[in-house]
Amino acid sequence: MAIFADKNNKVLVQGATGHQGVFHIGAMLEFGTNVVAGVTPGKGGQEVHGVPIFNNVFEGVSQTGANTSLVLVPARFAKDAIFEALDAGLKTIVVITENIPFQDAMEFVHYAKYKDAVLIGPNSPGIASSGKTKIGILPGQIFKEGDVGVASRSGTLTYEIVNSLTEKGIGQSTCVGLGGDPIIGTTFIDALDAFEKDKETKAVVLVGEIGGTAEEEAAEHIKENISKPVFAFIAGRTAPPGKRMGHAGAIIARGKGTAESKIKAFEKADVKLARFPTDIADLVEKYS
């Protein structure tokens, strides 16, 4: 088993014919992902690495039975692309696009909920279940099959940590990049619940960063609901205080959001914290 993505995901790539689309369709096929369709308006009839390209999502879905979308379109067109994917009935949407205006994200995150779809991102590196599938832009060579689940708010920092696990011989069940934006579809809590249910996952690694209160909320959730061991790394311990969003930001945060606050919250929930990203692997080896 794995969470959110496995062999059953038939992937349609939105923004398939651009430089990144072509590169990553190739990389996903190499990983073993079942990429069945690409969509670029006006480019229907072409092929990318043998994958047929369609003019719109509805066509792609009816011709190929795709059930998942990987969104690589530029930020300005992302909202439209995601609404189209949701209306075409896709139930897993992975949004790689960064710099999407957050009010657009707010709308498609709520629409995905209404459509009962899992939306990962935006500004996510994607999701990889070792030995099964990779939907996104994560570098395939860093993964190894195993029983540690990884959920992260960061992109490259996730690769760093997964790579160090793999170098230690510790494999992963699923690694999900939740995305670095203020508004994201799938949260630490969603990922923790899924890992808790997943029989293949024995331990969970969370990669957090300063800003927002997602880590504090995850820590509260772990205390009551998660029985598997959880490990964490928080980036931004030495970052200068972030720009506050006026008084309103301070009122919501009420002192939360800093690295200290997140570290304290995790310690209270008995989560083991690493000092270097690459130390996570040592901790997992020691306590699992």
Binding site: P101, G180, F233, A248, F276
Partner: protein
């Protein structure tokens, strides 16, 4: 992007929210047509200007001339005052607090209001701040507004006025891709009108392309940071001497954190993001050179970014323009072997692990 108070009030005016009669003033000639007494307010992108002497009451022309010359050019927590707003005084009956911001956890706009508006809103206890969340799929409805207004201690007419302001700032928040619209204080005047005495409006940088009528000023950035912003590079100046270039905000932050374990201190945070465009890499290195760090630490992990393309860009800058400080590199991920060869060829020092490279950078920066 944070707007100045006067820019926020221009938007309020556009949306039909009353603001005091006023204008930007450069000299005493600009006072004509304003009724005394009025208030001079320094336009700076941070709070606490009142306590810093950036707000002064004016009784007559000469008084105004003196006080304007005191405020114009003054330094408020690192920001030089270049714009001053003059506003007629209003007789205040009640001071309220009103804002709309983004609740990241609920992923919805959050409306907050309190009877206890004014200077010390951050110390007002939670139970005296009334909140309503608006699902963006349904937008603001009357029940949201009633939910707030009914809790504020207002008479019927005042309540009507405040309800109007709430629906107007929600529209403004959505139309202009705001992260924050805050009015503190929102006042009820002695003659019963509802008026915004201050404004804080932040617009989402990623949505600025939809708002060509807002001229970006980026007043809260250093000159190099401003330069970087125009080039689309995430670049923040810090008080250490090691220039960190990494890809992804998380990895860049983690790299800065790693340095402190070896008593190194970051002087620049430069996040290349997902780019491997050689032109962007070149611009990033040029910016970094201008910041004059003692050591540059390049930490790359390739996903969407291909390490070899970045390395090519780095090699090109260094071979063409030279660089007068040591560059420590550490490369992992997509096409890392090709990248390592290119960087070795360019004569750069490569670290084996993050710890190794962080230690080498910190040692060289001492």
């Amino acid at each position: 992007m944070k707007l100045f108070e006067y820019q926020g009030k221009e938007l309020f005016d556009k949306y039909g929210i009353s603001v005091p009669n006023g204008r930007l003033v450069n000299n005493e000639k600009d006072f004509s047509g304003l009724n005394y007494p009025f208030v001079l307010k320094a336009q700076v992108p941070i709070g606490g200007r009142g306590k810093a002497g950036g707000i002064k009451s004016v009784e007559n022309l000469n008084d105004g001339k003196d006080k304007l010359s005191q405020i114009m050019g003054m330094d408020i927590r690192g920001f030089t005052v270049r714009k001053v707003l003059a506003e007629e005084k209003v007789d205040i009956k009640k001071e309220l607090y009103l804002s709309i911001t983004l609740d990241r956890s609920k992923r919805m706009p959050l409306i907050m209001a309190s009877d206890e508006g004014g200077m010390d809103i951050e110390s007002v206890p939670d139970e005296k701040i009334f909140k309503e969340w608006v699902n963006p799929l349904i937008g603001i409805q009357s029940f949201h507004i009633r939910g707030i207004v009914s809790k504020l201690k207002l008479d019927k007419d005042e309540g009507k006025g405040v309800a109007g302001v709430i629906s107007k700032i929600y529209k403004l928040f959505r139309d202009y891709d705001c992260e924050l619209v805050e009015i503190n204080p929102l006042i009820i005047s002695k003659d019963g009108s509802v008026m915004a005495l201050d404004s804080k409006v932040n617009i989402n940088d990623d949505a600025m392309y939809r708002h060509p009528d807002i001229v970006p000023e980026h007043v809260d950035l250093t000159p190099l940071e401003k330069d970087a912003k125009e080039k689309g590079i995430a670049f923040i100046q810090l008080d250490g001497n090691i220039g960190v270039i990494a890809n992804g905000a998380g990895l860049t932050m983690a790299t800065l954190d790693a340095l402190t374990n070896y008593e190194g201190k970051g002087g620049v945070f430069l996040d290349l993001g997902g780019t491997d465009d050689p032109e962007k890499v070149k611009q990033a290195f040029e910016l970094m050179k201008k910041a004059k760090p003692k050591v540059i630490f390049l930490n790359l992990f390739g996903g969407i970014t291909r390490c070899d393309t970045v390395a090519k860009g780095v090699k090109e800058v260094i071979s063409k323009e030279g660089i007068d400080c040591p560059v420590i590199t550490r490369i992992k991920g997509c096409n890392e072997d090709i990248a390592k060869d290119i960087l070795k060829d360019a004569g750069l020092i490569t670290g084996t692990t993050l710890q190794d490279a962080a230690q080498k950078s910190s040692d060289l920066a001492r």
